[in-house]
Assembly symmetry: C2
């Protein structure tokens, strides 16, 4: 029995991880659950899975016999074998480090952890000889394609559905509503990730994550638009042979793969893909110019230092402003760009320096709320185009 803790159990990935565990309840025992503000759901999960320890970001309004611990304490607790980091934003950073430092296997769904602190995190994992198992569908695909291979890949293609607006013109993009942006064509995900998919910043973050997870140069990672979301990523080897991993877009598959690895378990709940019914798989190169957030993310990844942390923070603020209808869809890129441009990066940053850059970027991004008078609009367009 693998003893599991889930940080972020009330989020989309956390709930699906519990579905997987429920389907294989003879294999796994949930010993720790950490939720955010959705106490009602957390209480329900706790009642069902009876973990020894729990956490919530707000004071719980229910009584439970288990121990209330911090996320760091849960992630590094002697009782657990594997911790699923299903938090979002920077919340997963410190618990991931805590887990790695005591040699716990980490199943990572919180991509910002590696984007913000990839160097630090991979150094700790390597020093303590612990494994970081990817949970994102794209990274799980790469991991599956690399299984048993001895040589490094020549190129990796991260597939992107392109989101709901991939064929929109610039004027169309400027009129996108929150409701339209939250309607992803192929994946059901949390709000933040759905907006990040629509701006394509998500693929930039995933490229940085892949760079750290698989020790790949960023220039060997390409983004490929694949509207069907059936091929989750593609690996090309030095001999020109290519492997791809395919499935219906359902996060329970990569979650189960990480939890069961190296085993593969049958799962009656997971849908079978019939390729003969899919009929056609399309691919086209990603246009970074029409989706500036992707270009900004790839640039921040290449520059390294605290730039990727600033990218994450500015994007989080901008997406929140968009969801609160304070800015337009195309303003997200403008805020991220301006924040990155104003940042003074630090090379090989410590956790404190990363968190300081994050705090600075949040403050800066919040204040850089774009003015929609004609003069500023014109300037912003010039700035984006350069």
């Amino acid at each position: 029995m693998k003893k599991i803790a889930i940080l972020g159990s009330t989020g989309s990935i956390g709930q699906q991880a519990l579905n997987v565990i429920r389907a294989h309840n003879a294999r796994f025992r949930v010993v720790g659950l950490a939720g955010g503000k959705n106490l009602k759901l957390l209480e329900k999960q706790i009642k069902e899975f009876q973990p020894e320890m729990f956490y919530s970001s707000v004071k719980p309004d229910f009584a439970y016999k288990g121990e209330f611990l911090s996320m760091e304490e849960i992630a590094s607790h002697p009782e657990i074998d594997l911790v699923i980091i299903a938090t979002s934003g920077k919340a997963g950073l410190s618990p991931t480090l805590a887990a790695l430092k005591v040699g716990k296997t980490v199943a990572l769904a919180n991509k910002e952890v590696l984007v913000m602190a990839g160097e630090l995190i991979t150094r700790e994992a390597s020093f303590h000889q612990t494994q970081i198992l990817p949970v994102d569908s794209e990274h799980s695909a790469i991991w599956q394609c690399l299984r048993g291979e001895e040589s490094n890949p020549r190129r990796v293609f991260l597939t992107a559905s392109g989101g709901p607006f991939y064929h929109y013109s610039q004027p169309q993009l400027s009129k996108v509503t929150v409701e339209q942006a939250l309607h992803h064509p192929t994946w059901k995900m949390g709000k933040k990730v759905t907006i990040d998919s629509a701006t394509l910043v998500n693929k930039g973050l995933e490229a940085i994550e892949a760079h750290w997870l698989f020790a790949l140069p960023l220039d060997s990672i390409e983004i490929l638009i694949h509207p069907q979301s059936i091929v989750h990523s593609i690996v090309e080897f030095v001999d020109g042979s290519i492997k791809a991993q395919l499935s219906f877009p359902d996060m329970r598959l990569p979650i189960q793969y990480a939890l069961c690895y190296p085993e593969r378990l049958p799962s009656p709940e997971l849908p079978h893909l019939e390729l003969s019914k899919i009929q056609c798989l399309n691919f086209e190169p990603a246009d970074q110019n029409r989706f500036p957030c992707l270009k900004l993310a790839m640039g921040a990844g290449r520059q390294g230092g605290t730039y990727p942390a600033v990218l994450c923070a500015a994007d989080e603020v901008a997406v929140e402003l968009f969801l609160n209808r304070r800015i337009s869809f195309i303003d997200i890129a403008k805020i991220v760009q301006e924040t990155l441009e104003q940042h003074k990066s630090i090379a090989q940053p410590s956790l404190e320096e990363i968190l300081a850059a994050d705090a600075w970027a949040r403050e800066y991004a919040r204040r850089s709320l774009p003015c929609h008078c004609e003069e500023h609009k014109r300037q912003s367009t010039l700035s984006i185009g350069k």
Copy 2:
């Protein structure tokens, strides 16, 4: 330095294997070459690669210092590490057995070896703990997808281009000329294999080969029409995850993979596949009713015994008759069907029994040359339809 012998070096696969070896000449040494009747080409290859031993099916008309040995002697010679069986039809059977019995690694491109004698061959390989490495692009794809995996696949999809006539109607198929049939849309191959691709019998043979190579039940092997010949085969695991192997259709890749395994070597000669330029990959289920040779082959595989050997022999005779313009394209299936129907199969056959079934089938198929008078035409159509 791996010491290699190539049986069938003057054929299409043999020549491409020598191309691969030429591109990596610090890795491999050719110690044996065996050719058929093309003495001019064999002499040229011998002059270039200077093997210690050689063979030709007709008396050589050139002088060479190396030893003239039988294919069985070359395949089992103490000097060699790996033998490439690139012969065709039943010619590879006895040398493969000879190689396996002394523990040589066999790279198998002659699919009839496993189709005719899969049970015998895999038993010998398992008893002598020797490896049979697939060279066919489809089987190489399956092998690459299974690399590092611990569990058996749930399903395997062998892809087929469908050949030049996949969308032809029955009346169109009856008028197909030799020239049309020899013009394969995506692969450059020998004549026999090209016709076998057009009748789709080839996919049936490959399904039987995959069944033996990877210990897969025949019912877990499905044929998928994929006109672009980019995805070479697809493996589905018990968790619903699917892996596919892709590349430009170029036999040098699977040949090199088998020769270098477990390493992957860069090869400047092999073309890079740009998925963003391919744009679309199509799939559709194979229609066994319109291509009766495929249905006959799958049936022979399921029945086992000496049926698959009879299938190979009858098909070889029928294809030869077609190439010699003695019968029409749709007569190939009629001859194969009639020969299979008249055969009395033997379970768990010995090599002798397999060769006897082969001889019987050749004789029967040659005599069953369909009569093209109206009465027989009508009967043949009825027979095929049942």
